[in-house]
């Protein structure tokens, strides 16, 4: 397993957010984590990335127990994230945003830039544009490109469809598939269950801080409970 969470309990103050969450992602796998508002999806990602520390349980990444490791360390080991709402550095240029994605890497970044520009040729023409002045779809490209600059082995995506027009949501999932096909493991957190399950290998359903359901993506799509709860049909 590339990533394994075992019985993770995370609190915000006294509030018990994640209640014994276990999940794993294999090398090169595309896994989705579904759930409604306040189900603990974002907290799961923050725990994986080390932005919040679990009170108990463990996070193992690539054979190393990183439960107490810093975010910097985890990113050096091969994690990267496309945050919810993208969180670009608006007053900085496209190039500078991409550089920040490669912050933990030393040495020549030219190859990393080339790969991002190959995936998003539009960004190559907009290198010196301020990220905050771009359209939503373009910002999404910068956000994904920024995460890929560190050449991650696991890409975390927090609500990639949030705030995007339907056509851009589709485009966004095409990008996720392209990244996945290039051999990068992806963990997508989504409310848009239909879209996420159409590209994922496997899925987990999070409900008030517990994993309520897990199965192969095609099986989840046929699951009656899930259909009633999330797919609205």
């Amino acid at each position: 397993m590339l990533l394994a969470l075992k019985d993770v309990n995370t609190y915000y103050g006294q509030i018990h957010i994640l209640q014994g969450v276990s999940l794993d992602v294999a090398e090169g796998e595309l896994v989705c984590l579904l759930g409604g508002n306040a189900s603990g999806k974002s907290t799961t990602l923050k725990t994986i990335l080390g932005l919040v520390a679990p009170r108990s349980g463990s996070v193992v990444f690539d054979g190393e127990d990183v439960t107490r490791a810093s975010t910097s360390r985890r990113i050096e080991r091969g994690m990267a994230i496309v945050p919810e709402n993208r969180r670009l550095f608006s007053p900085m240029t496209v190039t500078e945003n991409l550089e920040m994605g490669a912050y933990r890497r030393s040495g020549d970044l030219r190859a990393a830039f080339e790969r991002v520009y190959d995936l998003f040729p539009l960004l190559a023409d907009r290198r010196s544009q301020l990220a905050g002045t771009m359209s939503g779809g373009e910002q999404q490209m910068v956000a994904v490109g920024r995460a890929l600059m560190s050449e991650p082995r696991l890409l975390l995506m927090d609500e990639p469809s949030m705030g995007l027009a339907p056509i851009l949501v589709e485009r966004s999932f095409e990008i996720i598939q392209a990244v996945h096909e290039a051999g990068v493991a992806v963990l997508v957190v989504e409310q848009n269950a239909n879209m996420a399950l159409s590209v994922a290998d496997r899925g987990y359903v999070l409900q008030t801080g517990r994993i309520a359901l897990t199965d192969r993506a095609d099986a989840l799509r046929e699951n009656d409970d899930l259909r009633k709860a999330y797919l609205g049909r």
Binding site: L49, T71, F89, M92, E96, G101, Y103
Partner: protein, 305 residues
């Protein structure tokens, strides 16, 4: 006309010092949204360190080193000493309160300010120290511009300030650290998500801002010669005013704000009365706050979407 130009030189000298102080205020505010009211005391400590080096070298009248070596040494020691002090203040007085309500670090800042003033009073007494610069670099040495003579000390202060400001601008715009500082200032959590060690970036910001304040302390010592425990209060307030006038959090704004405040003070002292100079400075502050609350270079706070 000569008088006017002479005051211009005065204003630029003072303005350089205020600009350097304002930069520290502005950088810290930009990254932590904290008004570091202990910043004036960092400047005061810088002035004392410069004085200490001068004294250890035998004093201005009889230095064991040539002025060309001694003065850079004073700057270097004050800048490093103040820089380390700034880092220590952040580490012990602000970082433990990072997640506390915003009023808590602000009160802590006022506390550090009083602490450093009292510590200086205890260590050095209330006696006003004098750099006695004319004995080191005679004020008669300078550049003749028509009927006007600009003393070497003032040229040294203005040039040093310009060099420091250019270096800072390059650091912030070009280097990896500078970009990380901007990213952290804009969105600290997003910066952390990129693997930026934001604690270190914040510490580096305090170091750089405090280095500039330390340099400003030595400059004031060289030009005006009065070094005492309470000197940081008014200078800090004026540096803060310069930062707000320029648009707090904005680096070019702090530079322009500093020069503006320095010039206003010099001309007010020259054409009205030196007793009015502070009145004019703080009237400018109130005026800018009324007309353009975000400062000359600041952008109005927008809701992040």
């Amino acid at each position: 006309m000569e008088f006017f130009v002479q005051q211009l030189v005065n204003g630029l000298t003072l303005g350089s010092v205020y600009a350097l102080i304002a930069l520290g205020y502005s950088m810290v505010y930009g990254i932590l949204k904290l008004l570091n009211f202990a910043h004036g005391e960092v400047y005061m400590v810088g002035a004392f360190i410069g004085y200490g080096v001068l004294t250890m070298a035998g004093g201005a009248a009889d230095p064991v080193l040539p002025a060309a070596v001694l003065v850079p040494l004073m700057f270097l020691a004050a800048m490093i000493g103040s820089g380390l002090l700034g880092v220590a203040i952040e580490r012990f007085a602000y970082r433990p309160l990072r997640d506390a309500p915003r009023i808590a670090p602000l009160i802590s800042a006022v506390g550090v300010s009083f602490f450093l003033q009292a510590a200086a009073l205890l260590l050095f007494t209330a006696r006003i120290r004098n750099y006695d610069t004319p004995e080191l670099i005679p004020f008669s040495v300078g550049v003749e511009v028509g009927p006007l003579r600009i003393s070497l000390v003032r040229i040294l202060v203005i040039v040093t300030a310009v060099v420091l400001m250019v270096a800072l601008t390059l650091l912030v715009s070009r280097t990896r650290l500078g970009k990380a500082m901007r990213a952290t200032a804009y969105d600290r959590e997003a910066a952390a998500m990129m693997g930026i060690d934001t604690d270190r970036v914040i510490a580096a910001t305090f170091f750089i801002g405090s280095v500039l304040a330390g340099a400003a302390g030595v400059m004031i010592g060289l030009v005006f010669s009065r070094v005492f425990h309470f000197m940081g209060f008014l200078a800090g307030l004026k540096g803060f005013t310069a930062a707000v006038v320029g648009g707090i959090g904005n680096i070019p704004g702090a530079m322009v704000g500093g020069l503006l405040i320095g010039l206003a003070e010099a001309y007010a002292a020259a054409y009205l009365s030196s007793r009015f100079s502070e009145l004019v400075v703080f009237t400018i502050l109130i005026g800018v706050m009324l007309v353009r609350p975000s400062g000359l270079f600041g952008t109005p706070a927008l809701q992040k979407v």
